[in-house]
């Protein structure tokens, strides 16, 4: 369930670009059942061990909340931060190393931006919502900007998904971001943009009803649109324009409520892993053949996570404390190849797999559990329990899997809240009601060493975080508009040192510019505001007023410093 407990949780751009995981669980089903099945597992080789908490005969627990990746990453490329200004029609890009601000004209109302992976330059695609076109912006290593425009984007697009190779861009409409969508509107038109040709080409295709996620095969051979009708497969490998080669149903029952599904697609584009709320059966669909398989676990599966390489999935059954490690590298797995583990004495409803693919963080946020289980996968998996000092809300592993960051929750479940966040998006629970709300603390947890966790009290609940690719720094924002408390905490590993920096206005995104060794916090301000944090020194520096900042002209430079199309000496 994607949710933000009244706050936006963001991952750094550098830390979250793994593979082609569709992570398509960002559904919107706040009215789905909140109960969980408590029956024992009926299949697999593991043991559906008992769990004290659920065997006590109390009321059913609320669903787990998945908060690790609720929002798209901040739009940062290696050296630049990109910010669109729909009002001015310009996109500002700020160099993290020099703090120089530039602006460039985009189309009419540039609103949505996505980074384009590139080894040679910094590039983004900007969706201009009023002119229904997209602008491709690239800044070379020397600072030269080039741009190209792809016109005729399917109207109403509000989301961009770029292939890991940077070749393909899909502009599509996420109905969940539309307030009161027309029931007769399927938002089925998507636009595929091919950047391999000059000028970029585009094709408008029709996919299933109301796509919720788009993903790509790692080899760029296909794109996948997860829809209520199933997974629409777009063939990208054939000569000529891309075309929809088929639709793979995810269930036998075509009328199944798609909002209760949590769909993940493996990076190689071969499999879709489908978890259904309250179901003990895990669906695995071969997207190349359309074959559907299912794996029965010991109870209702509360969470599924894929390793970064997509070779394994980890499913969790909270009621039985079961963890199933499912091999995916050979297609739909034989049930006998699944490792079933029971974390005895613990309540575990959520799993978060670190980038190393071996470290799995198990926890629950359905009850006030002050514990975290660190599971190490292998031939003989092992685990240890880490004592924390406040209930867990969410857990994030650093990229090197040596440490973790835990956001804490209040001790008692709270009522549902849906909070609008800046940027026009609304945080919506994807399954059930939120069980807990964030509280004023986070912890830094060593994983590689058996050392105690460090808890840090914050002024208001933590909001979002970003981590460096090396995993040695983490930035955690806090925001409370009513109390006018805004800040960012910079945590260091392995020293566990924490520095707080007060911000002048509400943070709306946090990220890391790895190439510049800078962290940044974009903030709410009519003129545009970003605070940069030097990751080595912790020194903060704020820029406010992108339009004016970009208009500064050094006439000795021989060219325009700021806005393109502007003046030059």
């Amino acid at each position: 369930m994607k949710l933000i407990l009244g706050a936006a949780l963001l991952l750094s751009a550098t830390a979250s670009c793994a593979g082609a995981s569709a992570d398509a669980s960002g559904g919107s089903n706040p009215t789905s059942t909140t109960g969980t099945g408590a029956g024992p597992g009926s299949g697999g080789t593991g043991t559906g061990g008992s769990n004290g908490a659920t065997d006590a005969g109390g009321p059913p627990l609320p669903p787990e909340m998945e908060v690790e990746s609720s929002y798209e990453v901040p739009v940062a490329t290696g050296s630049y931060i990109w910010v669109a200004n729909p009002d001015s029609g310009r996109v500002a890009y700020v160099a993290g190393a020099t703090l120089q601000v530039h602006t460039v004209e985009a189309g009419n109302a540039p609103t949505y931006i996505s980074a384009i992976p590139s080894a040679t330059d910094d590039a983004v695609v900007v969706l201009n919502v009023l002119s229904d076109d997209a602008t491709i912006l690239r800044v070379a290593a020397g600072g030269q900007l080039t741009k190209s425009t792809v016109s005729g984007i399917a109207a109403g697009a509000n989301a961009l998904t770029v292939s890991p190779s940077g070749r393909w861009i899909t502009a599509w409409t996420d109905a969940r971001s539309i307030a009161s969508p027309n029931p007769l509107q399927g938002y089925q038109a998507i636009t595929l943009i091919d950047l391999a040709v000059t000028p970029p080409s585009k094709a408008i295709l029709s996919v299933g009803f109301r796509p919720v996620e788009v993903a790509y095969a790692a080899d760029d051979s296909a794109a996948f649109a997860v829809t209520e009708d199933g997974v629409s497969v777009v063939n990208l490998a054939q000569a000529g324009a891309p075309r929809v080669s088929g639709n793979v149903p995810l269930a036998d029952d075509p009328t199944e409520d798609a909002d209760t599904r949590d769909v993940s697609i493996t990076p190689n584009g071969r499999l879709a892993v489908v978890r259904r709320e309250g179901s003990a059966s895990l669906g695995i669909v071969d997207l190349t053949t359309g074959t559907r398989g299912s794996l029965a676990l010991s109870g209702a599966i509360t969470d599924v996570d894929l390793t970064a390489d997509g070779n394994s999935a980890v499913a969790v059954v909270r009621d039985t404390a079961e963890v199933a490690v499912i091999p995916l590298s050979s297609g739909i797995p034989d049930p006998t190849t699944i490792q079933h583990l029971t974390i005895s004495g613990e309540i575990i409803g959520s799993a978060s797999i670190a980038a190393d693919g071996r470290t799995v963080l198990l926890y629950t946020n359905a009850v006030a559990a002050q514990r975290l289980t660190v599971l190490t996968l292998g031939t003989t998996p092992s685990y240890r329990v880490v004592k924390l000092h406040a209930p867990v809300l969410a857990v994030f592993a650093t990229a090197d899997a040596s440490n973790a960051i835990v956001f804490h929750s209040e001790s008692a479940p709270a009522a549902s809240t849906t909070t609008a966040v800046d940027g026009g998006r609304t945080a919506t629970p994807d399954a059930g009601l939120p069980s807990q709300t964030a509280t004023n603390a986070f912890s830094l947890v060593p994983l590689a060493a058996d050392l105690p966790a460090l808890i840090e009290e914050t002024d208001v609940p933590p909001q979002a975080l970003a981590m460096t690719p090396a995993g040695d720094r983490v930035l955690i924002t806090e925001r409370d508009d009513a109390k006018k408390i805004y800040g960012v905490y910079v945590g260091q590993f392995p020293s566990m040192e924490i520095q707080k920096i007060v911000l002048a206005s509400p943070p709306i995104a946090v990220g890391v510019l790895a190439a510049a060794n800078e962290g940044y916090v974009a903030q709410k301000n009519a003129e545009g505001r970003i605070t940069f944090v030097a990751l080595d020194s912790g020194q903060a520096r704020t820029l406010t007023g992108f339009e004016i900042g970009a208009s500064v002209v050094d006439w000795a430079q021989g060219s325009t410093n700021g806005a393109d199309g502007g003046v030059s000496p």
Binding site: T98, A540, I548, G549, S551, V553, W555, V567
Partner: protein
């Protein structure tokens, strides 16, 4: 290029009415019954300046500056310094020790007896030989004059007046390094790139800690943007900082700025500039980053300003960089909200401090005090000294006038308790500095003009001195010992010494156009020279220490006699 013409001063000792050689005047009218000429005001009063130990009288008609030097027994000596023809402007350096005279020159027509002469700047420093810089790269005179407080640069710019060219570019500047001799100095003509703005104010900064090292900047405020010129490298064009969003038709105008020079070698303490706007609630903070290419090679000027807009909730009336417990802050007064806002120029964090009155002006007086107290009145948690600011220029509304001390050392602790008002009931219009040895004093000139105050920064007392006339001029002795009060073109001059705050009147028989206290040669107490704009400029000279009437001397015709 400049060309050197060494001015040859003409020195003349003037005899007073009591002088034994004043027989010519005595023959004409006698000391008691003089000719009407000596009482006739001159057509155009000459500009006069106090150079510390001389008074400079700019004799526009004669293309010269006459220096008045006081000697023993209140004697007065005139020294005529020739300057270029067609005097357009004259001003002293901020320290008051050097006079700059701008001359428009002369272009001889066919058959003209007067030879052609380039526009020029004549620099006259008390006790030193004057120097004249001919500006051979401009044909038409520029009357505007801006002077570097450090005495290094002067800038000419188009001024107003009938002598200005028919067509002029308001962004044309002529920059002259007057630290060099006229033989080597090169006047540089520079036209500011303009988006339509007209220069309004010029600020010469001290050397700023920039990414490329310590360099002074010339900051030109136009009516819509700023221009930054590196005075150490005038071969490079300037950097322009627009202040208006390109998509906004409402042009924002700078209304003043503050400069923090920074600390060279400390990356966390780079230079910063604060700009307040005349028609917007934003205060702009500029800092500097390196301007380099991908290989780290410096490009352009090698530095660029970064912009931080800080909304302070109202139009700021004054601003200054101050040191607080929390570090460097840009303090902005917002009289419409009865508050000041402390802005962290690095992070844009702001902290409001409520004020008891809508003060419009702010002066940092820490330097006069030496150091400031901290939160507990004696120590401070700040890593460096913290500032004390003087707030003034409130409104004429009863209870909202006067001045207040603002302890910035306490700003990080309890800002609402850091304001200390002084019981000055009048609306303070101007704060005059007092030189050493009384730098802890300030003279507060009130808007109504019927009183002034001597404010003691150390013990925070304000001694009122009432005036029976509302048309009063105040000048503080450059020697820092007393304040002079007089009614322009009246017959009243008072000296109030700072030691005892006792007003003493002078006996003046001619209308007063200016009062200047100047030093005399070693061993002599200073003299006060009261100028009279009649009879070819006259003067009454007193011993400023004794103010003894019997030893005073009256002079007339100071601009008469031989020419330069």
């Amino acid at each position: 290029m400049t060309r050197t013409i060494r001015a040859t001063p003409t020195i003349r000792t003037i005899r007073s009415c009591r002088g034994r050689l004043f027989w010519v005047l005595a023959l004409l009218a006698g000391c008691g019954g003089r000719a009407p000429f000596w009482s006739s005001p001159i057509a155009t009063p000459p500009p006069t300046f106090n150079l510390g130990d001389q008074i400079a009288v700019v004799d526009t008609g004669a293309d010269r500056v006459v220096l008045l030097t006081a000697g023993a027994n209140q004697s007065l000596t005139t020294t005529a310094i020739p300057v270029g023809v067609n005097i357009l402007n004259a001003a002293t350096s901020p320290d008051g020790k050097t006079l700059f005279v701008v001359s428009g020159g002369h272009r001889a027509q066919l058959g003209d007896d007067q030879p052609s002469e380039w526009p020029s700047i004549t620099v006259i420093t008390s006790g030193a030989q004057s120097a004249r810089y001919d500006l051979e790269n401009i044909t038409d005179p520029l009357a505007g004059l801006a002077i570097d407080p450090a005495g290094h640069w002067v800038v000419l710019y188009p001024g107003s007046g009938t002598n200005q060219p028919f067509v002029e570019n308001p962004n044309e500047l002529v920059i002259l390094d007057v630290s060099q001799s006229p033989d080597t100095a090169v006047a540089i003509s520079h036209t500011l790139m303009s988006f339509g703005g007209h220069p309004q104010r010029f600020t010469f900064t001290p050397p700023l800690a920039l990414p490329i090292g310590l360099h002074p900047l010339l900051i030109v405020e136009s009516d819509q943007d700023l221009s930054l010129l590196n005075l150490d490298d005038l071969s490079k064009p300037e950097i322009t900082v627009p202040l208006t969003n390109g998509s906004d038709t409402h042009l924002l105008s700078p209304a003043g700025l503050a400069v923090y020079p920074g600390v060279q070698g400390d990356a966390t303490k780079g230079a910063a500039i604060g700009v307040r706007l005349a028609n917007d609630d934003d205060v702009v903070a500029l800092q500097f980053v390196a301007n380099a290419d991908a290989n780290g090679n410096s490009i352009g000027n090698g530095f660029l300003p970064t912009v931080n807009l800080n909304n302070v909730g109202g139009v700021a009336s004054d601003l200054a960089f101050v040191h607080t417990d929390g570090g460097l802050r840009l303090a902005a007064l917002v009289p419409s909200r009865n508050k000041a806002t402390l802005i962290n120029p690095v992070t844009s964090l702001t902290q409001d401090v409520a004020l008891p009155a809508p003060y419009q002006s702010l002066s940092v007086v820490t330097g006069a005090l030496g150091s400031a107290a901290g939160c507990d009145g004696g120590t401070t948690s700040a890593t460096g000294p913290t500032d004390v600011a003087l707030l003034w220029n409130g409104t004429s509304v009863a209870g909202q006038a006067g001045v207040a001390f603002w302890e910035l050392g306490q700003a990080g602790c309890q800002p609402y308790r850091s304001i200390d008002t002084i019981g000055v009931t009048d609306d303070v219009a101007q704060v005059l500095d007092v030189p050493t040895p009384n730098a802890t004093l300030k003279v507060l000139q009130t808007r109504g003009g019927d009183a002034f105050y001597i404010l003691n920064l150390s013990n925070r007392t304000a001694a009122p001195l009432e005036i029976s006339s509302s048309n009063v001029a105040l000048t503080v002795s450059p020697l820092g010992d007393q304040v002079w009060t007089y009614v322009p073109y009246g017959l009243t001059v008072f000296a109030t010494d700072f030691a005892h705050e006792l007003p003493r009147s002078l006996l003046i028989e001619r209308p007063v156009s200016g009062v200047y206290e100047i030093a005399r040669p070693s061993g002599l107490s200073p003299a006060v020279v009261v100028l009279h704009d009649e009879g070819g400029v006259g003067a009454t000279v007193y011993d400023a220490a004794t103010l003894e009437d019997t030893t005073r001397r009256l002079y007339a015709g100071l601009l008469l006699g031989e020419g330069p």
